[in-house]
């Protein structure tokens, strides 16, 4: 059975249908890309999956359990955790304390939670600056911090909202390796990203969302040459060529 199974997911904001009967599945061990033009509804899907928004229709089953009506923290403790597109560090906590929050939510045992936090800091290359404050760190490191915070909750499925955006080219190159390392630890990854080069390089499979509907799905190379996808991104004129 799939780790995450979504069927007929629908979300409306007033008259606008942000997500429309979206079917989607993530298999254990995959790295899946969720792509689409601005306003396609990608972040809305993440918010629906993690309980920040209530769907107007459809089912979400994670690891065999339907998630209907669950609060974000309950979903996190079941093993699905998200990061945010706009960075959300806790500004008055040190880097280690930032990461400890999620680890503490996972377990009340301080020895264990300290270990989870240290492992996450180590993996994301933040161990040296664990006692610094977030405002002392450049954007690239803050993005790593967001991932470290999420990893310290010991997720089984990690939802990353634009992890590549804002990174320097060298940081971006490292990110691909990092994601592979995270996957090796048994964490499945689903990410939203605009930079196609990155998506093609790291994702096993991509799903394309346009106006809240799935228009294509498959391996990255095939999807990138799909006329429907090119039309959605660039307009009709480019689709024929």
């Amino acid at each position: 059975m799939s780790l995450l199974q979504v069927a007929g997911l629908t979300c409306r904001f007033g008259g606008l249908v942000a997500v429309n009967r979206f079917d989607f599945a993530v298999e254990s061990g995959e790295i899946v890309g969720l792509i689409g033009p601005n306003g396609a509804g990608k972040t809305t899907v993440f918010s629906l999956l993690t309980g920040f928004l209530r769907p107007d229709g459809g089912h979400i089953v994670f690891d065999g359990t339907p998630l209907a009506g669950m609060a974000p923290h309950e979903i996190c403790l079941r093993g699905m955790v998200r990061t945010f597109q706009n960075l959300k560090p806790f500004p008055r906590l040190t880097i280690r304390e930032n990461v400890m929050v999620g680890a503490m939510a996972r377990t009340a045992e301080r020895k264990l939670s300290t270990r989870y936090a240290d492992e996450a800091l180590e993996l994301m290359g933040l161990a040296d600056m664990a006692n610094r404050m977030p405002n002392e760190l450049p954007i690239g490191h803050l993005k790593m911090l967001e991932m470290a915070k999420a990893l310290a909750t010991l997720p089984r499925l990690l939802l990353l909202d634009e992890p590549y955006a804002g990174l320097t080219p060298s940081e971006g190159a490292q990110l691909g390796d990092l994601l592979q390392q995270i996957r090796k630890k048994g964490v499945t990854i689903c990410l939203i990203e605009h930079v196609m080069r990155f998506v093609m390089a790291v994702c096993d499979r991509v799903v394309v969302l346009h106006h809240g509907e799935k228009i294509a799905e498959g391996n990255p190379t095939a999807v990138a040459s799909d006329p429907m996808v090119i039309k959605a991104y660039l307009g009709r004129a480019y689709a024929g060529s």
Binding site: T50, F52, A71, P72, H73, E74, C76, L77, V81, R82, T83, F84, K88, P89, F90, P91, R92, L93, E97, M100, V101, G102, M104, A105, R106, A108, R110, S113, K149, A150, A152, T153
Partner: protein, 316 residues
């Protein structure tokens, strides 16, 4: 060992203080300082650590005061037992308030605390068959002298400090800080934000009601304007902010400064008192917006940083 030196010294001073000082006014002032330290510590757990600003904690203060007083007057129940009943009642009263308003983000909690305190005050004012209305309630039983009350409020304040300290040093400390800094991010990382806010409000209400109950037994007279007044809510906030919001010692330091000052200003001129007092707070906020405790901490770290820099440049 050095870490324990200062608290134990303070402890000894606080314990022998009433034996050395015989002046009744100073003893009364000390009782009020300790009472406001208790209130500030309780308010701070919710307002400082969790970032949920309440303008209506007088509702819990008054509930504590009225519960123990009514139990004493109607049923002859000891006010020290009534204090516990009042605290539990305030805790129960806080639950629907938290449950209703903490689901909403933004200023809704702060706004509803204002209305909440006013509703409770109006009910107590008008339910005169039970509460005596605006005439208030008189306690004619002798409950002991000022020295006895000093030791009681000292014990209560220390208890509140210990509970607040235990809360913020446990995993809850991480949760409360995270909720204050960014509630969505906290929720996303598995922190049960709404439940934590309701629990902390309940603890806070519990200890504030204990303070109210103590106040009633100490003053031997209460009426709605005295114990449900917004001034009570405001003073808890002022004490906390001046001392250092979100620090454990802050409200104690704040009470030590604010309570004698407001007494002093009141004796200067009863009419101009609020004006002078208000001006003082404005000036204070301008120069020490983080409060005394954080201000001193920053000064100390700056000095140690400067010393460290000197060492570095000397070695170079």
């Amino acid at each position: 060992m050095r870490k324990l030196a200062l608290p134990s010294l303070a402890g000894v001073i606080l314990l022998v203080y009433p034996l050395m000082v015989r002046n009744r006014f100073f003893l009364h002032l000390s009782v009020m300082v300790l009472l406001y330290a208790l209130l500030g510590v309780s308010w701070n757990l919710l307002g400082g650590y969790t970032g949920q600003i309440s303008f209506g904690h007088a509702a819990f203060f008054g509930t504590g005061a009225y519960t123990s007083t009514l139990l004493l007057l109607r049923f002859g129940i000891s006010p020290w037992l009534g204090m516990l009943v009042g605290a539990v009642l305030a805790l129960l009263l806080s639950l629907p308030l938290g449950w209703l308003t903490f689901r909403l983000r933004g200023p809704y909690f702060a706004l509803s605390t204002l209305a909440f305190a006013e509703i409770v005050r109006v009910i107590v004012y008008n339910w005169d068959t039970l509460t005596g209305g605006g005439d208030g309630l008189n306690i004619s039983t002798d409950l002991g002298g000022v020295v006895r009350f000093y030791y009681i409020i000292l014990a209560l304040t220390v208890a509140a400090l210990l509970v607040a300290g235990a809360c913020v040093r446990s995993r809850w400390g991480y949760f409360l800080n995270a909720i204050r800094e960014d509630e969505d991010a906290a929720e996303a990382l598995g922190v049960p934000a709404t439940r934590m806010k309701v629990i902390v409000l309940a603890i806070s209400a519990f200890f504030v009601a204990i303070g109210g109950s103590f106040f009633a037994s100490y003053q031997l007279y209460i009426n709605p304007d005295l114990v449900y007044e917004s001034q009570i809510s405001i003073q808890m906030i002022v004490v906390t902010i001046v001392g250092g919001i979100g620090t454990l010692e802050g409200p104690v330091v704040g009470a030590l400064i604010i309570v004698p000052l407001s007494e002093y200003f009141r004796s200067l001129s009863p009419v101009a008192n609020p004006l002078i007092y208000g001006l003082f707070i404005v000036v204070f906020m301008l120069f020490l917006p983080q409060g005394i405790v954080s201000g001193v901490q920053r000064l100390l770290t700056r000095r140690t940083a400067a010393v460290a820099d000197q060492h570095v440049s000397a070695s170079v």
